[in-house]
């Protein structure tokens, strides 16, 4: 395994996954804080930012993620495979699966997870991920809740959590050492009309810029998109018109489970038209429950109660706005099940308006078109995000990521002195982000592959070497799953399937198999109870957090 020396004082950044030629996902970053102490010795500590999944990928895996080998510590051991110190912490920028979904897999593979620092909603969704995987409670990481403005101290670095607009609880990280200052955006955009959580504050961002930012590590997903994006307030107005035009009909909306701000907009549309709001579908229910756990007043924001599907089932359909899952035509999501008239699915017929306020991404377009056709076969009127402007309603969807205008604003506020490093995008998206930075007179650091180690210090920012970073491919073990009792799907607890059991292949950085399904077997012991021996090796790693409260 290659190893890049990190002994020069300063801050080192390494993207371990996320800059992938084969699509976005699996975001994970390593930061090393190297300082020269008063006695001339060198101290070195490191932490991770995000640890997410890349879903699918066409190789037969449920997901791929950055290998925990050499980074995390195996349970019962004190250092990562190959030596070096364990990470001090895992800082999560937000709750999407491509940023936190690999934590449960690392635990499943027999690794301990370092203490996690996250906002309340992100922490709740990590909690949800561990519950869904059936991970025994005593194997969970320590989870520390932070708010916007809180500062964690890791060695000589101070890391501030900076609220950004993307989803509830989303934050950027401002990482400062004596030698360097990095602003790691996480996923972001600017929309002051989002209702839930803390908003991005341009005044705070300007102040951070005034204090000095050397490098911005920056989300590229939608930077190639020009023009003014629709705000959530505009989307809400348009949804209100669609619901208003559906008087006397059932209205069913299909969204992604994590789109809670869109759920709020639908709640406002329902309320404005004298309907109640109900939700149906596990991931949507999980997100609503996470909001409740995080103290987000989602009902207050929506202006209406949120009913369960059980509470709504006896109400006249024309008095309800039912929100379910399936905007990406996932095989067992609510809209898809209705389209195929599966048992227990929401009934959809000629008296139903279906609204899908989410554009289909390229990888789901075929399935999406097929689902819409099926819904129309049932007689439903279907208003998709693609059709809404043609129908005169205007936009009912907007990407959760910064478009060109947003990125330009961010760079103008932060005024990075040295460089912008585009991440979280395919080749074209990353290139567009770099081009935008250069158009503003800011050099860009275009990383061609994951694993590059970038040193940021007094002399600037530069790649000092490249380390091989492997991936893990996870697939469900059919042999194990078949041995487990699987209750028939239906109502209530009887439709719970046992948590999936995975086997893991080691892949190289481009996704080719290096070691086939003979990594440590999935520990069935992670599920019912903990194995013997020490479980936590991070007893001394608790960070000091200066709260902003």
């Amino acid at each position: 395994m290659t190893h890049v020396d990190r002994r020069e004082a300063g801050l080192y950044w390494q993207s371990r996954m996320g800059n992938n030629a084969d699509g976005i996902g699996g975001n994970a970053h390593r930061y090393d804080v190297v300082a020269e102490e008063a006695d001339g010795s060198i101290s070195s500590r490191h932490f991770l930012v995000d640890y997410g999944l890349k879903l699918g990928g066409g190789r037969g895996y449920s997901c791929e993620f950055p290998s925990p080998e050499g980074v995390f510590v195996r349970r019962g051991e004190s250092a990562p495979d190959g030596g070096g110190g364990p990470p001090e912490a895992l800082l999560l920028t937000h709750a999407h699966e491509d940023h936190l979904g690999a934590v449960r897999h690392a635990i499943d593979m027999g690794y301990s997870c370092p203490p996690v620092y996250a906002t309340a909603f992100t922490a709740a969704m990590l909690n949800n991920s561990l519950v869904k995987a059936g991970i025994a409670r005593d194997l969970w990481p320590e989870i520390h809740i932070v708010r916007g403005g809180d500062v964690a101290e890791i060695g000589s670095a101070k890391v501030e959590f900076v609220p950004m607009d993307h989803m509830p609880g989303a934050t950027a990280l401002r990482i400062r050492t004596k030698e360097a200052s990095v602003f790691h955006t996480g996923d972001y955009k600017f929309d002051e009309t989002l209702a839930l959580g803390e908003r991005a504050d341009p005044h705070r961002l300007r102040a951070i810029g005034a204090e000095g930012v050397d490098m911005v590590v920056s989300d590229s997903t939608s930077v190639a998109t020009n023009g003014a994006p629709a705000s959530e307030a505009e989307i809400c107005r348009n949804l209100t018109r669609i619901v208003g035009d559906s008087r006397g009909r059932a209205v069913v909306a299909g969204i992604l489970g994590s789109q809670l701000d869109r759920l709020v907009s639908l709640g406002r549309a329902a309320h404005a038209n004298g309907r109640v709001l109900a939700v149906c579908g596990r991931s949507l229910a999980d997100n609503v429950a996470a909001a409740q756990a995080a103290g987000l007043d989602i009902e207050g924001a929506a202006g209406t109660r949120i009913l369960t599907s059980r509470e709504a089932r006896d109400l006249p359909p024309e008095t309800v706005l039912m929100v379910t899952t399936g905007a990406f035509a996932q095989s067992n999501a609510g809209l898809m099940r209705s389209a195929h008239r599966q048992p227990g699915a929401l009934p959809i017929d000629e008296n139903t308006t279906v609204v899908i306020p989410q554009r289909a991404i390229p990888s789901v377009k075929t399935a999406h078109a097929s689902m819409v056709a099926k819904l129309e076969e049932r007689g439903a009127k279907v208003v998709t995000a693609e059709r809404a402007p043609e129908l005169g309603y205007g936009p009912i969807h907007q990407s959760g990521h910064a478009v060109e205008r947003d990125a330009k604003l961010l760079y103008t506020l932060l005024k990075p002195r040295k460089i912008v490093a585009p991440i979280h995008g395919d080749g074209k998206q990353v290139e567009a982000n770099g081009r935008l930075a250069r158009s503003l007179g800011i050099p860009s650091l275009m990383l061609e592959r994951n694993g590059a180690v970038v040193h940021i210090g007094a002399s600037g920012a530069s790649v000092v070497g490249v380390e091989e970073v492997s991936r893990i491919g996870a697939r469900e073990s059919e042999a194990v799953v078949k041995q487990l009792p699987r209750a028939p799907r239906g109502q209530g607890r009887n439709n719970r399937a046992p948590p999936a059991v995975f086997v893991y292949d080691r892949l190289d950085g481009s996704g080719r198999i290096v070691q086939h399904a003979n990594l440590p077997a999935p520990e069935v012991s992670t599920r019912p109870k903990a194995p013997d021996g020490p479980q936590t090796v991070y007893a001394g790693a608790r960070l000091h957090v200066q709260t902003s409260r």
């Binding site: 491509d98 561990l130 519950v131 997903t221 009887n494």
Partner: protein
Amino acid sequence: MNWDDYEGLGRALHEANPDVNHLTVADADLVRLVSALPGFADARIRPDATSLTAVRFAWVAAAEGDDDGSPYDGSA
């Protein structure tokens, strides 16, 4: 059962309280409902936020089941 047995508590909450809104139940009410479950041994122990949230999700799982299929990669 104790606070760490989140799956068992979730199932028991669903069976005992089918008409309670499991999506928006307040923390204090959740603690009260768990403490009232027969066979619950930790009624005198105040749960930490992580344990309480785990029980909340286990209740959602028991009530909603797995029919959903919405693992979202976040890149939309």
